[in-house]
């Protein structure tokens, strides 16, 4: 092993299959460092939840090993693993009050009564729910139930916290608020967290690292800026944030990893980064983020090098910004964002503009 420090959690070559034919998780290698906030991100059925459930002990891997703190845990039952867990539907015990729910893991660990009371109170204060201790879960709002579930997962000082789409049931505002709250808890408690979500914004804002799953495999793992800024394949580029995917053909390959792409729908040649070995004539998808697309009015003489002329086919009002759509075919259209306060003019349908982007802002992938 080249790694001097053994990772906290280590998946090695883990397979999981329910029917013996298809692997839901396929040859998974994954390391989680101590104190890290790692998010497993992917569409439903990508294997991210199964990975979490295997770490929690609810599912056994079909092949491979999972180590925790240097020891294999595949044969350790869930109740001995000492991981806090937040479930999608919270799974608060409906027959117990909020305080009893929090006391439950402490009772199971035979903590002394007065210590339980103190610890429950302290933890409820951390999530600012001290006043709801005697409520039953059925009497809580979604956000409150979420906090109680969170509090219950940390009250017994677990070795790590696993969260399975914990914010899925909340509305957007509450979700954003809870994202900050969980992030705060992570810092305050200095605890390792494994978080599963299908929401890429959530993943970007909360994580130290993100692992993008698809088809049971990790497509790419890295920091949010690595994931957003330099996706390694088309799936990650499309899944992380918004992206334009334009049809093109390689017209020339150059040194320093840049290629020239002829954009079929716009009849223009643009430069882009290539991460795959591509030949001249290969059909590709050119991915460029809407916010990296630059616009210049066509009246301005010249314009930046490599710009191509285009007409606005549609404008969509978003409140904080306006999106401009170019190209006749909506499925292969190019969109760009224009903020309101840029001092620039208001664009309208039919306006002629010059479109360009930094060569390093665009990436080509095989379709």
């Amino acid at each position: 092993m080249s790694n001097p420090v053994e990772p906290f959690v280590m998946f090695r070559n883990v397979d999981k299959s329910y029917d013996g034919k298809t692997n839901v998780v396929d040859g998974l290698d994954l390391d989680i460092a101590k104190g890290e906030f790692l998010t497993l991100l992917g569409p439903s059925g990508s294997g991210k939840t199964t990975t979490l459930m295997m770490l929690a002990g609810f599912e056994a891997p079909s092949a491979g090993t999972i180590q925790f703190d240097g020891k294999p845990i595949t044969d350790v039952p869930t109740y001995k693993r000492d991981f806090g867990m937040v479930f999608q539907n919270y799974a608060l015990f409906p027959h117990m009050s909020v305080a009893e729910n929090l006391a439950f893991p402490l009772r199971m660990r035979k903590v002394a009564k007065p210590d339980i009371t103190a610890k429950v109170k302290k933890t409820l204060d951390i999530v600012q729910l001290g006043h709801l201790a005697d409520r039953k879960p059925g009497q809580l709002s979604g956000g409150q139930a979420q906090r109680v579930a969170l509090a219950r997962s940390i009250v017994f000082d677990p070795k790590m916290v696993l969260m399975d789409e914990p914010l899925g049931a909340l509305d957007k505002q509450l979700r954003e608020h809870m994202q900050l709250e969980i992030k705060r808890l992570h810092h305050e408690l200095d605890i390792t967290m494994l978080y599963v979500t299908h929401d890429q914004t959530e993943a970007l804002t909360m994580s130290d690292r993100i692992a993008v799953f698809n088809d049971g495999k990790i497509q790419q793992i890295g920091t949010p800026s690595q994931m957003y800024g330099s996706p390694q394949n088309k799936f990650v580029a499309g899944f992380m944030g918004e992206n334009n995917a334009l049809n093109g053909r390689i017209s020339s390959t150059g040194e320093d990893g840049l290629v020239s792409v002829h954009l079929t729908d716009f009849d223009a040649d643009m430069k882009a980064v290539s991460k795959e070995p591509l030949q001249i004539g290969d059909t590709v998808k050119l991915m460029v983020r809407p916010e990296r697309v630059r616009l210049v009015e066509k009246a301005d003489a010249g314009g930046p090098a490599g710009a191509f002329a285009c007409k606005v086919t549609d404008t969509i009002y978003y409140g904080d910004h306006v999106r401009l759509v170019f190209g006749a075919d909506l499925n292969n259209a190019l969109t760009t964002r224009v903020p309101h306060d840029s001092g620039s003019r208001d664009w309208a349908k039919g306006d002629a503009v010059l479109v360009s982007w930094e060569p390093r802002a665009a990436i080509v992938f095989q379709p």
Binding site: P77, Y79, A91, F93, F104, P137, R152
Partner: protein, 394 residues
Amino acid sequence: MNGKSKMSWLLVAPLLILVCVGFIIPIGYTLIKAIKNPEITAALPRTTSALENWEWDGKSPPPEAVYEALIADIEQGDRGRNYGSMTRRLNFEQSGSRSIMMKARRIADKIEAPYAVSLPEAVPEFGDGDIWQLIKQNSNPYTARYLLRAMDLTVTLDGSIERVASDQAIFVDLFKRTFVISIWVTVLCVFLGYPTAFWMSTLSDRAAGYVMLLVLIPFWTSILVRTTAWFILLQREGPINAALLGTGLVDEPLRMIFTRFAVYIAMVHVLLPFFILPIYSVMKRLGMEYVKAAASLGAPPWRQFVTVYLPLSMPGVAAGAVIVFMLSVGFYITPALVGGLQDQMVSYYIAFYANQTINLGMASSLAVLLLLFTAATIAIAKKLLPETGSGIRA
């Protein structure tokens, strides 16, 4: 009342009418039958009103006017059904009264006034006050005597309540037996049905469908057929005994039919689906989510069950147990067919009084007490069951 609510009343009207005609009226009628007492006054209107001012002192007979009233009632009454019912009614209170009253009717047109002398000469029982007191005591249009008798109590001539002779005291034991059998049947159903329902709730929908079919097929079969099947299976010459003898496990056939054992086995078989169905639906809804949560919080398997799964599935247990208990206290056919005389339940005697002796008062009284005791048992059970709070969220 607006059009919409008129419409909804119209829609529920058939059900309301059915409930009234098929349920409330017959049950109300039965309840009233338990305390109605029309027979004596219907047959002997003059005698009962003449007796109103007479006080029984333990020995002396009533005055001549009462005797005249009795003769008038016999001669001017319809001499038919009313008189017969009256004699049966008196005989229920005091055996032997029927023949005394019959004799009085036979000699009524042969004797002359003063009847206070001639009637006791022909029928000596009319010489003292006892038979008259019996008539007077039972001339009230309503009576508690049937209900008292259903609790093995009776009213003496001086009006005090005491226990009936031990050879006639059968009803207290009968009620005890009915409840003991019902409680055991319920307990057996809980212990057999709970694990079965749990197992079913963990199966895939497809597999659970097949198992459910196994539960439901007996459920769809008539109780009579199922009980008869047990009757055949448990016989001395039946297949079970044949198998036991064949394998050499026993030397002579076991006595299984007409025993309490047969009653339990047949009743549990009949009632088990009633327990499994409600508890299965609760468990299906409950799922394994809370058990998983408990496991993640450090609860070993038995504590996951005791602290989380059991309390959350309790509403289903309670619902199933109440249904099984209520059905089993009213069981008739099964104990009647496979049980012995000592295994008969209250319903057997209700049927006996209703069909054999046509004593509707007694049949109704047993029914009323059964209803009251059952309601009380369920009320107590509800109090004792742990509060499950808001239960499972849908």
